[in-house]
């Protein structure tokens, strides 16, 4: 089986040379035969070593392939200088395994094939690192103990320690040295003085670097190993990471360890560290190895995200009961519309974010955000509920929030994106449960007027008291919101700047805004807050207050447009029911109930009973129908049907009765026409209320009702022709002109 191994040497060798300047010993150009005493830097040492904590997350992406794929990577192990505190393997479509190859540790992933979207691998580890200083023993070269492994003195392909040129150079450099420390210093100084090689010309094997007097960082490290070995000092290459907070890296660095006085001492000719290592050097492996190996011809990419964490953060995590499942993905498939919960918990989260949305989130978006969060060690919880009806959306969002209370209450950032202001109402649930978010930031995006946002936002702010409440208007894609929030919260970009980058217009509400409201509005905010605290959901107040608006719409439909309906206010109540079931299901339920009702009502005719008794029987029939629809809903998993009881039974019975009387008096055609009109007016009211966001406008500005009443009075006094009368009598205008 031809399973080639591609060596990622070129990638890995791209180490940093920029930090060479501020090295401990000033590397001076080596002059043949001169001996420089190693610096006595013991006095300059800090008394206490620095201790740092880091999290490194490696993310790999493998492109889909039909053939077997395998990847393996070297990971750090604990030694005296560094301690690996935790490793996390995120579950994936691959089989994970660990292979110990002392002193190194491999981890690998295998799969017979890779499907699209399934090629992501993530592995992270948390380490504690310290800085170290050694003194090279002041002993004779010959007194240096033998190596643990004779291989460490042998030449290799790129460390040609037996090459005559190397031998000559070592002989020249050590001509005057007798002690181990002198020899070591001389060799180190020589290797450290070389220039960094550029581009493709960069040499990366010992002889080439020697001849060119310049080379790649790893080439220079190899040269130093070759020089040590040629001088009979056991030496090896070390691969590692230079840790920098918030950095995303693809390259490792290489330094050298030499066996001196029975210990491995570090030498970094590129970074200029002589027998010392700073705390941000993380050892990944020993030897001349690539960090990652994978099957040939595999579309592969990876990067490593580095974060510095605090000891407190780690301790707080350790205090929590250890969870074996690092990543929980839960997807509940309720009804035809979906309620989804996705959660990605970072092992050592620096922040936690809860995203709440009322539309199904595209897997790609979840993937993007989750990957982003993973790299930054952010726990992310997605809650989404998608329903047509705003009433259900609010309800299911509230239910979602209630069932994920812990996550929501502890989130540093709550991102809510809904079609309309449903998100705001859903969050008020927190107020109902008297949850204070204190320093969390709330970002709520939705299509609502800014003035409404200001009032409802103030209620929310009063109740929940977040650190900051940001309203984004109109609704923005989840991804841009995330990017904005991440840039602002995690990278510290000012909100306005982050928002303008993603084309968003945030409206920040804080304590000053709440205080700054006009007297009446402030009282209103206080009143609504009190209502929420008294467990009266604002939606209930909403429905009460929006009723007069619907009634006004019905008046407009009748007196200005001229659409006749069954009863004056049947459309008011029915459209209120539509607000809860949503239009599609509302119309369906209406048609089913009226259709079946009319059939049953004609059967009642045969019974010959009086109107009141007949209506009562009809109510019984309608109730049975509604119960039936509920059961059918439960069977078929249709959510809207489960809540069919919202439909006003008495009103529906009246519509059925009206239908039948109209049928008798004015004919079936007329009855159907009136039913159609009633339905159309209900739908139009529904669309006006929903589309115009009237519910929240009335809630925020109840004085609108004065306007509504004024409008109703004006219409009541208006004597002009109704719009449809122009159509109905259009012949009159023409006939008169013709002089008929």
């Amino acid at each position: 089986m031809a399973r080639g191994v591609v060596v990622l040497a070129a990638v890995l060798a791209m180490a940093l040379a920029s930090a060479v300047a501020a090295a401990v010993p000033e590397p001076t150009p080596a002059v043949d035969g001169r001996v420089f005493s190693p610096p006595d830097d013991a006095a300059a040492r800090p008394r206490k070593p620095t201790i740092q904590y880091w999290t490194v997350t490696v993310s790999m992406g493998i492109e889909p392939t039909a053939t077997a794929a395998s990847v393996r990577m070297l990971v750090p192990v604990s030694d005296g200088r560094q301690a690996v505190l935790g490793r996390t393997v995120r579950p994936s479509a691959f089989r994970f395994r660990e292979e110990a190859a002392p002193p190194n540790q491999w981890v690998g992933w295998e799969a017979p094939s890779v499907k699209p979207q399934k090629g992501t691998i993530a592995y992270s580890y948390t380490v504690r690192t310290t800085d170290v200083w050694y003194e090279v023993p002041h002993i004779a070269l010959t007194e240096n103990p033998p190596p643990p492994d004779p291989v460490l003195l042998q030449p290799s392909e790129r460390i040609q320690s037996a090459d005559p040129a190397i031998a000559r150079r070592v002989a020249a450099l050590t001509r005057d040295t007798t002690r181990l420390d002198e020899t070591t210093w001389s060799l180190f100084q020589y290797a450290a003085s070389f220039l960094r090689g550029e581009g493709a010309e960069a040499r990366d094997d010992a002889v080439a670097v020697l001849n060119a007097e310049q080379g790649s960082p790893s080439g220079r490290a190899r040269l130093l190993v070759a020089l040590f070995r040629a001088a009979k000092i056991p030496a090896r290459l070390v691969g590692g990471l230079r840790l920098e907070d918030g950095e995303r890296k693809r390259a490792t660095i290489t330094w050298v360890e030499a066996w001196l006085g029975g210990k491995w001492l570090p030498f970094d000719p590129v970074g200029g560290h002589y027998a010392t290592l700073p705390a941000n050097y993380l050892t990944l492996y020993y030897g001349d190895l690539p960090l990652i190996e994978h099957t040939a011809k595999l579309g592969f990419q990876y990067d490593m995200l580095i974060h510095q964490v605090t000891r407190q953060a780690l301790l707080a995590q350790e205090a929590e009961p250890p969870t074996t499942t690092i990543n929980r993905i839960r997807e509940t498939n309720l009804e035809t519309e979906r309620v989804q919960t996705y959660a990605f918990y970072a092992e050592k989260p620096v922040a936690s974010v809860v995203l709440i949305t009322d539309a199904p989130v595209a897997p790609a978006v979840i993937e993007r955000i989750a990957a982003d969060a993973r790299e930054r060690s952010i726990s992310v919880v997605f809650l989404s509920a998608s329903f047509e009806s705003r009433y259900f959306r609010e309800h299911s969002l509230q239910r979602l929030i209630a069932s994920n209370f812990a996550a929501v209450a502890e989130a540093h950032l709550l991102l809510v994106s809904t079609r309309d202001e449903a998100g705001l109402y859903a969050l008020l649930q927190l107020g109902e449960h008297r949850v204070a978010l204190r320093d969390a930031r709330l970002v709520v995006a939705g299509g609502f007027p800014r003035s409404v946002g200001k009032v409802l936002g103030a209620v929310l702010y009063r109740l929940v008291g977040p650190g900051e409440l940001v309203l984004v208007n109109p609704q923005a894609p989840l991804l841009s919101l995330w990017n904005m929030a991440r840039a602002n919260l995690i990278d510290g970009v000012p909100m306005v700047e982050a928002a303008s980058l993603w084309d968003l217009r945030p409206q920040v509400i804080d304590a000053d805004d709440v205080r700054g409201l006009a007297g009446f509005r402030r009282g209103l905010v206080r009143a609504w807050s009190a209502a929420v605290l008294a467990q009266v959901p604002l939606q209930a107040i909403n429905l009460i207050l929006v009723l007069p608006v619907i009634a006004c719409l019905v008046v407009i439909f009748r007196s200005v447009i001229g659409i006749e309906t069954f009863g004056t206010f049947a459309p008011v109540i029915v459209s209120l029911a539509f607000l809860m079931t949503g239009l599609t299901w509302g119309v369906t339920i209406f048609c089913v109930i009226v259709g079946l009702g009319v059939v049953l009502r004609s059967a009642l005719q045969w019974l010959r009973i009086q109107l009141v008794a007949r209506l009562a029987v009809l109510i019984a029939l309608v109730s049975v129908m509604m119960a039936g629809l509920t059961v059918v809903g439960a069977y078929l998993g249709v959510g809207a049907l489960l809540n069919v009881s919202i439909f006003p039974m008495v009103i529906m019975s009246n519509v059925i009765e009206n239908f039948t009387t109209t049928q008798v008096e004015l004919g079936t055609r007329e009855a159907i026409r009136l039913t159609r009109n009633t339905l159309a007016v209900c739908a139009a009211c529904y669309l006006a209320i929903e589309g115009g966001g009237l519910q929240s406008i009335v809630l925020s500005f109840p004085e609108v009702l004065i306007l509504v009443v004024a409008l109703e009075i004006a219409i009541g006094k208006w004597r002009g022709l109704r719009l449809l009368e122009y159509l109905r009598f259009s012949d009159l205008g023409r006939a008169d002109r013709g002089g008929a």
Partner: protein
């Protein structure tokens, strides 16, 4: 186009104006009870000598149905109506007897028991729009006059005269069609034909809100027919205002082949389709009448005024 709209707005009476300017100020609610109950209407009209179909019986309770046989025994043709019915619902027209059974106007027969059951339905409020139950009115069957009968499909055509403050304003004939099931009900597809108030001649036909020159089932032209006893019809219509002082009143009349003009019922909320059938808006003449001084005007004065207004084209 705009000129037509403006003219339309100026001359046509719409629902809003009808309600605000004519229904509310001129029709006291107390009189609605009179016109919504047919026997009551008939009594009031008969009191001032307005001819109405002869009443055979009024039955108000299920108990009264015992007497049904006795009442119907001397009659071979009659009409059973709900007292509070509207639009002709629940009306059964018996044209003849065939042995033990009754023959309906449509030709179908109905047994005595079925008729009694129907009467029970009426009493139960099956055709009433109020919750008070209903009563039965059994009255004379109208023999259709051949002139309007010729353009009616199986049923009784009637003449609607719109009377404002006792002055006839517009009139139309309502013809039954197959779609309206023998009823002169425009919503069900009955045909409306305007009548020239001065000459008593039919003008334009309207079917389901659209102009139509011919009867849809009989395929005869509906225009140009002289309505029999036109002067009398007009006089009776104007007289109704004296019996039931509703300012804005719709009077439904029939021409009986034997008894001549009879008032069938009154309507306190007459509709506006009459404008279409006459190809003429109501607003101008109604507003002229509203401001006219009618104090002390006699019946003849009012009829004279009606002719004068109608003549102004």
């Amino acid at each position: 186009m705009l000129a037509a709209l403006r003219r339309l707005r100026r001359t046509t009476l719409g629902m809003n104006r009808r309600n605000l300017e004519f229904l509310v100020p001129y029709n006291p609610r107390s009189l609605f009870a009179v016109v919504d109950h047919k026997p009551c209407t008939k009594r009031q009209l008969a009191a001032v000598g307005i001819p109405v179909p002869a009443t055979y019986a009024e039955l108000g309770r299920q108990w009264d149905l015992r007497r049904l046989d006795a009442i119907l025994a001397p009659r071979s043709s009659f009409v059973v109506k709900p007292a509070r019915g509207a639009g002709g619902g629940g009306v059964v027209v018996i044209a003849a007897r065939a042995g033990d059974r009754f023959v309906k106007a449509s030709g179908a027969t109905i047994s005595r028991a079925q008729l009694a059951a129907h009467c029970g339905d009426i009493l139960g409020g099956a055709y009433a729009s109020s919750t008070y139950g209903d009563e039965i009115l059994i009255e004379q069957r109208v023999e259709v006059d051949p002139v309007l009968g010729a353009i009616s499909y199986r049923g009784v055509p009637d003449v609607r005269v719109l009377v404002f403050r006792g002055v006839p304003v517009q009139a139309m004939a309502r013809l039954p069609t197959r779609a309206s099931d023998g009823r002169a009900n425009l919503h069900m597809g009955g045909m409306a034909v305007g009548i020239d108030l001065v000459r008593g001649v039919t003008t334009h036909g309207i079917l389901r809100g659209r102009p139509s020159a011919r009867h849809p089932d009989l395929d005869r032209p509906v225009a140009g027919l002289a309505v029999p006893q036109w002067e009398r019809l007009l006089t009776i219509a104007a007289q109704c205002y004296d019996a039931v002082p509703l300012g804005y009143l719709g009077v439904d009349l029939v021409v009986d082949a034997v008894r001549g003009a009879l008032v069938l019922e009154l309507n306190a909320r007459p509709g506006l389709t009459i404008q279409l059938a006459n190809r003429r808006g109501l607003r101008t003449s109604m507003e002229a009448l509203a401001s006219a001084d009618l104090v002390g005007a006699t019946l003849d004065d009012r009829l004279e005024l009606a002719r004068r207004l109608a003549a102004v084209a």
